[in-house]
């Protein structure tokens, strides 16, 4: 702690002053100033599109700012590329790992900084490994520098990323700043603890910028928190005196309260025939004897650990995979889909986990994406009616509050939450969709976008849509569902009623999951 106290006085390691960056039609960063002091962990939060990525891209030398300055240890710096940024002492740990799997740990750590260990273009392995070891020692990792990267676990690779980021210190005289971009988004909870311990260790040798949209984690590890919103730095808070609710409010600009999941809006399911029923559905090696039903206006949650078979089940229901035994009934008729073509015709929609791959068609417009599943409503014979198209798509863009410059914009340029809304619009604009399968619909979305999705789910129920939900967290599944089916090792182990006010707790569910 003494170290912390003294750091308050010291010259800040990194100073960002009045940074502004615009893209065509968008102000991505608007006069942003912040500083990072020696041995400090600074949290940086903000919704998707708040400007975090742009700021990080400027810090890592990928973008040049329109105006404003960067200072390292009081000296102004400017970057022409990532190499310059590394030389100035900024080490980036990217959200998606940027390692080369076919070569050794040491080669990865010193990628791009091998020069000192080269003789006429040949590696001097002893030197390379020694230098890598030095970085690994700093974070107390026991990974061997000579190990092939491909043999490491995901968490170990993250350690290598950290060591690689720390290696910037070799070329830079002073304390580096290590920027961790959403490091927790793909970690399991055990690995999470390891990472937090690592951050504490990093603090001894560096300053850390911790970027995340998980507020509780940010509060836990940071000494100070900056909140970004709409390209501005809107607040600076001390984690000791601020709570998640306040951070959330600063970040989103509205009250969070207990209404996150819109539980009050959960209407009871009326007594109607089930839309979708399965009887003894079995896919060898994935799930066995699954019988369930979902009625109009009902959210049926499916809970289970990885490998419990629920992802496979959802794909089978959508016709994307085949099954070996059992029956599927849709609106009182026995159906068997050999591909999603049949499922979609019969009225099933699917929001996939792999949003960028299976959800949206990047490179096509918002309009084209909305019409991807069903364009009959806006067609005259085989031809599209441009007027009807514009009407329908504009209507859904407004209804779902999709933030896009216009309906002809490339969907790839939208934020994750807005892309998810485009996918929803794709199914909702089709009059035939009766059942929606939501496979982790809020994965990778920030809080604000999640809330929008929750509100939409409630609205869909009110309109008699039957929903099968595979949630990102247990809380989400429990809060949103009318009933929750728990799967364990490929079969249904329990079924919970989940009326508002009488919801099961996550602990009760977990008992049946493992």
């Amino acid at each position: 702690m003494t170290q912390l106290m003294s750091s308050e006085m010291a010259q800040p390691t990194l100073q960002v002053e009045n940074l502004t960056k615009t893209f065509p039609g968008v102000i991505a960063l608007d006069d942003v100033s912040l500083e990072v002091r020696p041995h400090e962990v600074v949290g940086l939060i903000g919704e998707n599109g708040a400007g975090k990525s742009t700021l990080l891209n400027i810090l890592s030398g990928l973008y040049a700012p329109d105006s404003g300055t960067l200072k390292m240890n009081g000296k102004e710096v400017s970057f022409k590329g990532p190499r310059d940024s590394a030389r100035a002492g900024i080490g980036m740990v990217h959200q998606e790992q940027s390692l080369v799997s076919a070569v050794s740990v040491a080669e990865n750590i010193l990628l791009g900084a091998e020069d000192q260990s080269l003789t006429a273009g040949w590696y001097r392995w002893s030197s390379l490994n020694r230098r890598a070891q030095r970085q690994l020692d700093k974070i107390g990792s026991r990974i061997r520098p000579t190990a092939s990267l491909g043999t490491l676990t995901f968490a170990q690779k993250q350690m290598v990323e950290l060591a690689k980021a720390l290696a910037v210190e070799e070329e830079y005289d002073g304390q580096p700043v290590i920027v961790l971009d959403e490091p927790t988004s793909v970690l399991e909870s055990d690995d999470l603890e390891t990472l937090f311990a690592e951050i504490e260790r990093l603090r001894q040798v560096a300053s850390v910028v911790f970027v995340s949209h998980r507020l509780d984690e940010v509060l836990r590890v940071s000494d100070r928190v900056y909140v970004m919103k709409d390209g501005r730095c809107v607040a600076e808070r001390d984690p000791k005196t601020v709570d998640v609710d306040e951070l959330y409010r600063l970040m989103v600009g509205r009250e969070s309260s207990g209404q996150f999941y819109r539980e009050a809006q959960q209407a009871p399911v009326r007594d109607a025939e089930p839309v979708l029923t399965t009887k003894g559905l079995t896919k060898k090696g994935c799930f066995v004897d699954v019988s369930l039903e979902v009625r109009p206006g009902e959210v049926l949650g499916i809970a289970g650990v990885q490998g419990a078979g629920r992802e496979e089940l959802s794909r089978v229901l959508f016709g994307a995979d085949s099954y070996d035994a059992g029956e599927v009934w849709l609106s009182g008729k026995r159906v068997r889909f050999s591909s999603p073509v049949g499922a979609v015709r019969a009225g099933i929609g699917y929001i996939p986990t792999e949003r960028r791959l299976e959800g949206i068609a990047q490179g096509m417009s918002v309009k084209e994406n909305v019409l991807l599943a069903d364009s009959r409503a806006v067609s005259r014979g085989p031809f599209l009616d441009p007027r009807l198209v514009k009407e329908l798509v504009s209507q859904w863009v407004m209804k779902l509050n999709i933030k896009t410059p216009n309906i002809d914009a490339d969907v790839a340029n939208l934020s994750g939450g807005n892309q998810q809304k485009v996918i929803l619009a794709k199914w909702l604009s089709s009059p035939r969709v009766k059942v929606l399968i939501l496979d982790h619909p809020t994965r990778g979305l920030d809080v604000g976008a999640k809330e929008d999705v929750y509100a939409l789910i409630r609205e869909l129920c009110a309109r008699d849509m039957a929903i099968i939900l595979l949630g990102d967290t247990l809380e989400e599944v429990i809060a949103l569902s009318h009933r929750v089916v728990v799967m364990r090792d490929g079969s249904i182990s329990a079924l919970f009623e989940a009326a508002p006010g009488r919801k099961p707790t996550p602990v009760e569910l977990v008992k049946w999951m493992v």
Binding site: S53, Q362, E368, S375, K390, N413
Partner: protein, 333 residues
């Protein structure tokens, strides 16, 4: 623009690769047209007779088969595949037409075009069913069609005798001074472009090229669409075979083979992405025109015809290097 969405919402369209991507794609849309205009101007300066009606007519006749094959190829390339067999299929078409003309008269042309459409469909079906890259399937098919042609003809050119009258109209008809082959080819391109712009399924080829999984998971039959793209490639090969047979008075098992390189060159020069998803028939029209004018230009400055293929090969590599969407390559691989 549609005043529906609030333009004040500034929070989107970032964390994107907006910069490079969009300016590159805008350039790709315009650049080929500029190249064409510059080429035409250059050739005209060197050879003022280039723009007289006779020379333009002969230019349009040599444009026709490249454009037709290019149009067929465009459908396949848009879906993210490539059809190396469509020039060889056209060669086979000239053989079939030459052999069938004495028996069926003008009906032979229709029969040949239908046959080639079906053969194209089969190639697409094999590729989609067996999940083999189109590059490999069509490489095999290219050899296959050539071989079948050789077997049918005994490795000789099939001369057309008096039955040529049945297809003489293709060579002889002039409408507003425009030769029939050019009308067929440009007409097919315009029709395709118009249909792709207005049909409700018109952009599906592009959609597959950009995001096959997304189309599949939206209930689109990517299987059928792939087959259709190849069937259209076969159909266009049939039209090209008709035009070629009419201008050569004969059919031969390798008659159209040398067109493969200029056809692919035409597509990439026109600005259709070889990785699929972006481009279309109109771009191929521009690209094919560039290739044909380039050929005339080369002979105008005295380059030996033997160097033509050298130029096409270089043009393909250069055009792809300039136009390829590398941001997508990282995602697609």
């Amino acid at each position: 623009m549609d005043g529906v969405t609030p333009m004040t919402e500034m929070t989107q369209t970032k964390n994107v690769h907006v910069g490079a991507g969009s300016s590159q794609s805008r350039l790709i849309a315009i650049l080929p047209l500029i190249v064409l205009i510059v080429l035409v101007a250059a050739v005209t300066i060197r050879q003022p007779s280039f723009l007289n009606i006779r020379s333009l007519q002969s230019l349009s006749i040599s444009l026709a088969p490249i454009l037709l094959l290019g149009l067929g190829q465009t459908f396949v390339v848009l879906t993210g595949g490539i059809d190396l067999s469509n020039a060889a299929l056209a060669s086979l078409g000239t053989v079939l037409l030459a052999m069938w003309l004495p028996h069926f008269g003008v009906g032979a042309a229709a029969l040949m075009i239908i046959t080639l459409t079906l053969l194209g469909f089969v190639v697409g079906w094999v590729s989609a069913t067996a999940q083999i890259p189109t590059f490999i399937v069509t490489l095999g098919a290219m050899g296959l069609w050539g071989g079948v042609g050789m077997v049918l003809t005994g490795e000789a050119t099939v001369q057309i005798g008096s039955s040529y009258q049945a297809i003489a109209w293709v060579r002889d008809t002039l409408f507003l001074q425009i030769p029939m082959p050019a009308i067929l080819a440009v007409g097919a391109v315009l029709l395709a472009a118009a249909l792709m712009a207005t049909l409700s399924s018109g952009r599906k080829f592009q959609a597959i090229g950009l995001a096959e999984q997304a189309v599949l998971m939206s209930g689109g039959s990517t299987f059928l669409l792939r087959c259709v793209a190849f069937a259209l490639s076969g159909l266009c090969a049939g039209l090209a075979a008709l035009v070629l047979t009419a201008s050569q008075y004969s059919g031969a098992p390798h008659l159209a083979d040398s067109l493969l390189l200029p056809v692919i060159a035409a597509i990439v020069v026109g600005g259709t992405a070889i990785t699929g998803g972006r481009g279309g028939p109109m771009r191929t029209l521009v690209g094919a025109s560039i290739i044909v004018v380039l050929r005339v230009g080369l002979s105008a400055i005295g380059v030996d015809a033997a160097y033509e293929q050298v130029v096409y090969g270089a043009v393909i590599i250069l055009a792809v290097a300039l136009t390829i969407d590398r941001s997508r390559m990282q995602v697609v691989k």
